[in-house]
Amino acid sequence: MTKSDPPPTTSYTPPPPFSNTTTPLIPIYQGAEAHLYKTTFLTPSTPAALKIRPSKPYRHPILDRRLTRARILQEARCLHKLVKEGVSVPAVLGLDWEFSASPEGNGAGGSWLVMEWVEGPVARVVLERWERHIKTLGRNHGSQSQDVPGDEGEKVRGLMRKIGAAVGSLHKAGVIHGDLTTSNLILRPFSPGASTESRDEDEQVSPSMEGEIVMIDFGLASQSVQDEDRAVDLYVLERAFGSSHPRTEPFFEEVLVGYRESYKGAGPALKRLEDVRMRGRKRSMIG
């Protein structure tokens, strides 16, 4: 769960029981809606991701409580459903949707969700490294072409199909992610410790694409089996590839191949995707 954004800078007291904990909370990411920490849960050797949705002082307290509670529950319910269905997502280990304020803190409370820790690089990092590698290859061979060597193409196609299959398994279970980007897909190596952190910046080495795709961050997820919602989910992912990974974009078609093969309802959703591409993510409200 690596995101390159800066860690939280403001001092903030998390809600209990984390307000007074002696177990380290390592800040991973801070967004507008939530703080993410790496910590341990249930045993000192079980790594876990702690997501806290802090209260927002500018909102009316009653509304704030209702919104925070509804959103953390929505996320936890989606994850729980997916775990039961066997979809690769982090499991819910603990949850408190009640809005407890830390007694000695700055009055800020919040709801929290503890999830299984997922080890591995996010797809964005893998693809960025791969694109750098391809660029280096091209330079070394003195060619100006954008061509990707056959074996490298096959490798990235395999990864794309895995991504498509993962999204398909999610939609099959009746859940829409709502924010599919390459930062929300983790490539979990099959064997623990197989990650290649030391070679992160080595452009001579093509990054490993072995492993399982695990989807994370269900903060905007919802339950739906409608083709429209599924198509928009795919469209958001397609646009994310287009803007973040220009050299990988030509391979996006393989995501849809992997998706099509993953469940029965994929066909109609992909048909709908064509309509969504024509008009964009938002439905026209005219007429």
């Binding site: 209990p16 029981p17 499991a91 819910v92």
Partner: protein
Amino acid sequence: MSASLETIDLPHLPSSLAVHVALYKDVQNASYLRQQLLSANADFEYAFIDAAMVMSRAHVLSAIFRAVNDYSNERLKSRNVHSEIVFSLSPTNNIADSFRKFGISDSTGSLLVVKVAVTPEITHGSVAAHLAQHVQGSSIPFDDAAISQISDFAKIKKAYKLGSLPSPAASQANGAHDNEKRRLELSVLGAIALRGAT
């Protein structure tokens, strides 16, 4: 006999609330222990759990975490933190039902005992001595290997309404068995965390 009363420090919970756990097999006096609970004998304020309804350490620890967190935040649904631990194992909001399914019964053979040190007088020594005096059974280590010998997976799956999940049958190859057990365990932990979410 209570040589293996284990004191567990759960991450994030205050260290003042130590958790003592002991696992027994071949318990002879389950009905006596249950009677003490029913008569609300203050000396027997324990979580007495039918160990057959437990699938792993993490399973119990998540119920303890939830109960102790609710205790710290003063929102117990049942009488005390010990009854709340039994209740927290349950995926439903029915307290009586949770005791029928997860709590000690007259026929309980394998018993898991949990005691939270809610007052400073409750120490490892005092709990160990009291249990040694009153539980007639053989103390065994509270670890996943011992628990898996006791777990009744069919009953656990039924209690959590996870019947559609593949059973972690012992006959399967080890890899598949571990994966299925892991999936069942994570589904159970989710059910415990989400209990009461409306």
